[in-house]
């Protein structure tokens, strides 16, 4: 099961790196949540992060706004992931923690570290063939820094 989960976590990152974002909400359960927050706010128990999606609908709204409404300079991400630490919960779901480092490349050629932190995931296994399909019930993206350079538009 751990390999399936690790493959899933890697596939998610590669889809974002390759700007295949239409399928981004499908990595989540229908009512899954996606939050980008800072280490500082998490430690202080503050509820507010930098991005918060509740359910696939809000996630598609993000992608649609990103493609059609929002204005920003072209850029791409490259995710570098650490090995995931995975544990099974008593209800059959899994918890995973994975460190990440995301390099952002701007159109002028600057490749710089954009975000560093950890994914804290709750993963549900859905029946599937040939093997069960993992989905994020909850994905918390915890940023080490409270400071974002320029703007954040693609999901992390």
């Amino acid at each position: 099961m751990n390999t399936a989960i690790e493959d899933f976590i890697i596939a998610y990152a590669h889809d974002i790196d390759d700007v295949r974002l239409d399928g981004w909400p499908d990595y989540f359960t229908e009512d899954g949540t996606y939050t980008i927050l800072t280490r500082e706010n998490l430690a202080a128990g503050l509820p507010m992060g930098i991005m918060y999606c509740q359910g696939r609908g809000m996630m598609s709204d993000r992608i649609k706004a990103m493609k059609e409404a929002n204005i920003y300079e072209a850029h791409t991400y490259c995710h570098l992931l650490g090995r995931s630490q995975i544990e099974e919960n008593s209800d059959g779901s899994y918890q995973a923690r994975t460190n990440f480092n995301i390099i952002r490349t701007m159109q002028d050629g600057a490749s710089e570290m954009f975000a560093v932190g950890k994914y804290l995931d709750v993963i549900e296994m859905r029946d599937g063939q040939p093997q069960p399909q993992p989905l994020f019930k909850e994905r918390k993206v915890v940023l080490e820094s409270r400071r974002v350079d320029i703007l954040l538009v693609y999901p992390l």
């Binding site: 509740q54 809000m58 929002n70 920003y72 974002v148 703007l151 954040l152």
Partner: protein, 418 residues
């Protein structure tokens, strides 16, 4: 570089004809102007935002920040009083407080262990009398003359302000009646912190000061505002300027939306996006006030703005970090007596603004585009003639740049530019 007047500039500076309708591009990129602003504005007769009172709720709490580029400490003493000092040891100039936030009985510089009370008075000097009768400070050393450099402090509606100048009038008269009344409307109840983050924008701080006063751009650039009818120029709304012109309020009433032909006809990017939300809970909102105002932004000179978009209440503070770099802080707050549902709605609507704001994220790059676009054109000037050339409140329309003209009117005066 320490400058005190325009006469000290190597390259003379006069304002172009056209007054506040012309904005010299040089002001965004000239390091001498930047140095002069530190003296005349941030150390001058203005009230600088230091922190929120909820950042330092208890005796001994301190928070560090900057006034312009000068590092400062805001503290709360044993009697509940608020103080502010330059975060610079009176001995050798090291930072006294290293942590962004903390709690302490005394503030002690780690370099040579000089310690100060919460009002900045020097209370202890290590080895003051030397060791074994040798060394130490001269007998006539007067500790009362060597405290931390203090700022005058006032609190208003949960905001802590500080000033270096003896000439700054009280916060309330600095703001003027319409500004203080509206602050009381928005921040007049005990606040609760919801979360904070910051954003580095690669532009001069004044471009953001203009940007928050730019009611004209808000519904052109920010498609999300327009599409989801959160803020458009075809809603009832207006601009209120302070008497000094340099503070403003821009407000809109969502219920009064009456779709204007101009949005449909003109080739406006913001009106091209046709969409229904798949996650409509984003815009669940309740009316907090009975004045009909559902969106407002209020800018306080020099570098503070308070945003109330639907139910999302946020204190925005933009700090110069160099001539072409600004750190924009987003302090999201609710009220202490909010219900759980209300807090949840504020958190949900947090998606609208901030570094990843569906509405506001464009402002992270648009000011940089001006910074880059004006390179090499330091002798030229930008235009601000929308809504006329006067610098007055506008209750009929927000298709105006009057608040931008207001900013530059105040700026020119305090900088002493002829």
């Amino acid at each position: 570089m320490s400058l005190s007047s325009v006469d000290d500039l190597k390259q003379p500076m006069t304002w172009p004809t056209g007054g506040a309708t012309r904005i010299p591009y040089r002001l965004y990129s000239d390091p001498e102007i930047y140095a002069l602003e530190q003296e005349r504005i941030f150390k001058g007769p203005v009230w600088n935002f230091l922190c929120l009172e909820i950042d330092i709720p208890n005796a001994g709490d301190y928070k560090t920040s900057t006034v312009g580029e000068t590092p400062i400490i805001a503290t709360r003493d044993e009697n509940g009083g608020v103080h502010a000092m330059v975060n610079r040891c009176s001995h050798k100039g090291a930072l006294v407080c290293l942590k962004e936030k903390g709690n302490a009985k005394m503030l002690t510089c780690i370099y040579h262990s000089w310690s100060f009370d919460l009002a900045g008075n020097l209370k202890g000097v290590a080895f003051r009398n030397g060791l074994q009768g040798k060394g130490g400070l001269p007998d006539d050393f007067d500790t009362s003359k060597h405290g931390l450099e203090t700022l005058r402090v006032e609190t208003f509606c949960g905001l802590v302000f500080g000033t270096f100048s003896d000439e700054t009038p009280s916060v309330e008269s600095y703001l003027g009646q319409p500004m203080s009344k509206f602050l009381r409307r928005n921040l007049g109840k005990p606040l609760k912190p919801l979360g904070m983050h910051s954003q580095i924008i690669h532009n001069n701080w004044k471009l953001y000061a203009e940007n928050v006063r730019d009611s004209y751009h808000a519904t052109l650039l920010h498609t999300f505002y327009t599409t989801f009818k959160i803020n458009r120029l075809d809603m009832d709304g207006g601009i209120v300027l302070a008497e000094d012109k340099w503070h403003h309020i821009s407000y809109a009433k969502r219920e009064t939306f009456d779709e204007a032909e101009e949005y449909k006809r003109s080739n406006i990017h913001a009106a091209q996006y046709d969409s229904q939300l798949d996650g409509p809970q984003l815009l669940n909102a309740w009316n907090e006030f009975d004045d009909g105002i559902t969106h407002s932004i209020q800018a306080i000179f020099p570098n503070l703005a308070i945003q109330f978009t639907l139910n999302s209440l946020c204190v925005r503070f933009f700090v110069p970090r160099g001539i072409d770099k600004t750190e924009l802080f987003w302090f999201y707050v609710g009220y202490e007596d909010d219900t759980e549902e209300q807090t949840a709605m504020r958190v949900m609507q947090g998606n609208l603004t901030g570094a990843a704001g569906l509405v506001s994220l464009e402002d992270g790059c648009i000011n940089e585009f001006v910074q880059r676009g004006t390179h090499g054109s330091e002798g030229k000037a930008g235009l601000a003639e929308m809504g006329g050339r006067d610098v007055e409140s506008s209750d009929a329309s927000r298709a105006t740049e009057t608040a931008i003209r207001g900013f530059w009117t105040g700026y020119r005066k305090i900088m002493g530019i002829a």
